[in-house]
Subunit: 471 residues, 3 copies
């Protein structure tokens, strides 16, 4: 029981004798929540407010004074008012000289102002020591004590003594301070809490789009076609059969898209004969999304594995296999064993299993803590060699699955080809071009270009100048 | 081969010329192990001991002197004696003035003393620079070199120069120093190695209790009932059938318990009209355990998945399906295909697969390194939206599994309802109340309360005062 | 869209007014790439070169001057030339006095030189402030902007002001600086990018060797034997049946090897009566590889799970079960249900599932971020108690799988025993010895030895001296 209380209110017991007074400007939600938490942890809180008499909602135990008087009580002043009101504090300039001002503000959108709020505050009060902190913690989290999310508090500032003081407060509230350096880092810190998976957007929208398209395609090709031509209701395919057709296709397309930009980049570098020119913007962005594309692909592959493994449990599958068997019985004939079928079935599954296993390995290596514990050489080895091996295995898995199926007319109801064919286009392109690129006669100049040691000397003097003037 | 030696004995090769002398007070296990390791890494070690002549067990290469003489030899003194003997060192006060004292002590239980050992040492020797370090490393780990566990050494202290020196020693022993700030952090550092999954206790005990109850319940309802009424021995159900019935129930109950406290909190806030009053203690603790509850639930869900996927491999299942088929043959009749069965079977499985997939996503996001790389907004999005979607999918999975089963009298041997019904109670309560809470007329005031901007003005003046006097 | 640009070119917008000039010595690949990136981020770059007129390839916007003149322009000089040319800079000693020299060099192999490059540079320029940085970032990564791998830049140096300046540059390039302390850490930092999974080598080679041996063994025993004696082609066993036989064997052998060195260490400590003597080198190295052995074992266990779960989907398995059923039909007889078979089949699967589940838990705890968030006591609990439980469960799984199979002559084609028997040797040895070791009469002295509090007093005086002279 006691352990818990140490987590929620650390160091309370041995603090009373060194109760420090901290001043908070602003009695808004965040100011109140932070003050409440600090009082719990043994601090004395003095609020600075424009009209102290109307500030009824301040936490129990705190006092409210006008700004100037409040500022007198403490060396550390937490500025919990919106940026637009910073300028109104300028009349307190002399009082605030030499004091530590903690900027806790957040913006409503990224790049709202040219400079960060903390840098703006530092410009207004050049004689004060501005420290950016606490903006990544939500008022709700402070209030409820339920800090299951990140307990990290990014701190930055130009004065290291001032930073130390703020870091000590952060720590005594049970949060984890993370020193991000000088006030230069304030912009990054302020942008941080505004993001909602910015890098994931493209990958997720793309995969959802693909899923929707393929769902409708399969619905028409399988369910609607059967219903119209044979008047057979197989709408229950929507639950598992069709998802299990869509998932591997989306996974393989996305996996191909992870390696396609690398191919483009190599071709571009070979063509330009230099690596010292920027890639076009779309290629740059695409390359930055590769990790997310790969992880979304892994998620679809995982769903495909689960959907496949439940196949023998499904009522439909059991009924079909039973009724086939009963037909054999009633016709009094037996299928003989075909080794080629056994080979196809087993190698198809084996390629899929190995491909999924390597894919999972790639996913684990991209976990932040694992990625940080490998160096560049190791990361390249895993993501490049194992990555291509994954593409090869998964493509082989799909090719064997397809088998000679695409040759029969029955595979083209209403002329629509089986959906799995779509998934093969990009990976096959990637593998064919990659295969060309690893030929020694092409690999050698490419490696040289990437190491920066060599390039095409004849064309170079000219394009270099051209690129010089165009950049 | 060389790489390994650098890992075990880093920097040995280039240290001999700057061999530093370090003094260790105390020749107990930890003092000896640490000294041994430091000698291996090129340090000169002088032990301080009460009776130097009897200290036979010190590591090869170290010297033993009386405390005072030993202290003269070095600027850094590692205090490897129990806290209760700290006071006996007070006679050395003058010798130790200005020196770096490294407190490596641990306590036997949490909150054993009012202040941390390091702070106590600092009080005894105000003129020395006390640094807390090494307490998280075990003597056994130092000795065996097998530091597969955390290589982290938490370091804290008020004097940054002194801290730097200790951090350099930590690093030269091949360990990872982690600066935790001022001596204020010593208590937390000392409590750290004493914990044995403090946050996990409730969740694990609860799940074990539930498992035991459900095991006995299913044993009686299925195995014992069949044995008594039909004299049929199906005791082998204990191995897989019953566990596979228990696991999803425990998982779903725990998942419900993850979201129930949030519901309580919302109701309490709506009722109080403010978020500025603390939740009752039990609710606070419950909310802090949610992550652990969720992960234990995920473990049970994972077991459920494995137990389900092996179903078609089980001898019992294969025999049952074969004998059913043979009955059909001998009776010369065939079951016709029923689309409604196919729908139920497939949608039941599909909901389960999607629910498990989202559940796994939630689990991955709660890995420390992943949770630290998302901001508060992203964390809320995943844990709240995806979390509720998981509850919905898993509840639907169970409802469809149950189907109309609960209507038949055969489902109530000895009047006992099927066990799965227990698992539905909490998630259904959570979902129903949550559904009510997202109605705009209730959601709007709740959001306002949580943002702190609005509250019920008429009731406020009074309960605020009441709460003020009661807190 | 804007979010992305902040990631690739952070802080560009608000930097122009504080454009700092940085000097780079050397116009090789890394110097150019770094300069290019820094220009993008708003720095002014001046290159120092031996023959400035021939340096055509420098990035657009930079200027090239002779070394001495270039050095005048900035307080920070990035030394991007090979270590062998450091001495040629000695003539600039006076110009470089007091300046920050950033060593970005890497070596070609580990321990190439007695001291690190940065320390060598510091010896050459004792009046300059040498900081080690940037060596872990590849030129290609800087160029392409595709920093999906570690963005970490290790920084170390003796002058903290100088280090701060370099850390600010690192941060403004969108990289993550990691302060590793004094220049003492330079050697470790320089060795870092040269490693290619050094700790994994033994485990991976061992597992590949075992796999190759078992593959040939199973191929001969099953496929070749059947082909020669019965002229039956079951070569398709290569795809799934044989891998699924190999994977669990390799997994169990490796799992046994994880716990075997601990057994050896305990016996050695009991025999020696002390823990204060080093283990033989092979045992030390073995113990350091345990984590990797365990994770490779987990990978094989995972493959075994996947291979097992697809069994009911395989054409061969379905055909075999169908044809067996048809035989029953045509013979008009039914197999009666055997409870003992059901027990064996279910308990075999249940042990496997629980063993795999615990194994996975062990794997998750060894993720860096999870391992760092548990303390020594928790880590020992998981890895030791849960680890042995895993060995017990997996051994039981294999024993029940084997069952009485090893008694029949048909299990020994050409006298070759079933492969699974190999996998039982090591785990059984481990479990038997461990069972002996936990007897109180043996456990008590061992625990005492490991705590360092007790040892055999009679033998001690002698071996201690012996060890003293031999070490």
């Amino acid at each position: 029981m006691e352990n818990h209380s140490t987590t929620t209110m650390p160091l309370t017991s041995d603090l009373p004798n060194k109760k420090q007074t901290v001043c908070i400007f602003g009695t808004g939600d965040f100011g109140r929540s932070l003050g409440h938490k600090m009082i719990q942890c043994g601090y004395t809180i003095v609020y600075g407010s424009r009209n102290p008499k109307n500030s009824k909602l301040i936490p129990q135990g705190a006092t409210v004074l006008p700004h100037a008087e409040a500022a007198e009580t403490s060396d550390i002043i937490i500025i919990a008012i919106p940026r637009i009101h910073y300028a109104t504090l300028e009349r307190l300039k002399e009082t605030l000289d030499g004091k530590v001002l903690v900027d806790v503000s957040n913006n409503l959108k990224i790049n709202q102002y040219p400079e960060s709020n903390a840098e703006y505050l530092a410009q207004l009060f050049p004689e004060s020591k501005v420290v950016k902190a606490f903006n990544t913690v939500s008022a709700w989290a402070l209030q409820s004590g339920a800090l299951d999310a990140s307990r990290q508090v990014f701190v930055c500032g130009n004065d290291s003594k001032a930073k130390e003081k703020v870091i000590d407060i952060v720590r005594s509230l049970g949060l984890t301070p993370l020193d991000k350096g000088s006030l230069l880092a304030a912009k990054e810190i302020e942008d941080y809490p505004l993001q909602l998976f910015p890098m994931w957007k493209y990958s997720i929208y793309l995969s959802l789009g693909l899923t929707a398209f393929l769902f409708i395609y399969c619905l028409i090709r399988d369910v609607v076609y059967r219903y119209i031509t044979e008047n057979k209701d197989i709408s229950f395919f929507i639950a598992i059969t069709i998802p299990n057709r869509i998932c591997p296709i989306v996974a393989l397309i996305l996996l191909g898209l992870v390696y396609l930009p690398g191919i483009f980049a190599a071709i571009l570098q070979l063509y330009r004969g230099t690596k010292y020119r920027r890639f076009p913007d779309w290629l740059d962005k695409w390359m930055l999304c590769r990790k997310q594309l790969g992880l979304v692909a892994l998620a679809f592959a995982f769903l495909h594995v689960l959907f496949t493994l439940v196949i023998p449990i499904r009522y439909y599958v059991r009924w079909r296999s039973d009724s086939y068997l009963l037909q054999q019985v009633f016709k009094n004939k037996t299928d003989s064993f075909r080794t080629d079928y056994a080979w196809l079935s087993d190698s198809y599954l084996a390629f899929g299993i190995l491909g999924f296993f390597l894919f999972l390995l790639l996913g684990i290596t991209s976990l932040p803590s694992v990625a940080n514990s490998v160096n560049w050489r190791e990361f390249r080895f895993v993501q490049s060699y194992l990555g291509y091996l994954t593409v090869v295995l998964c493509t082989a898995h799909t090719l064997i699955y397809g088998g000679s199926r695409f040759l029969y007319a029955t595979s083209y109801p209403w002329g629509l080809p089986p959906a799995y064919i779509f998934s093969l286009i990009i990976p096959c392109i990637v593998l064919v071009i990659k295969f060309v690129l690893i030929f020694p006669c092409i690999d050698r100049p490419l490696t040289a270009i990437r190491q920066g040691w060599e390039r095409k000397p004849k064309d170079l003097s000219e394009p270099q100048n051209l690129s010089g003037s165009s950049v």
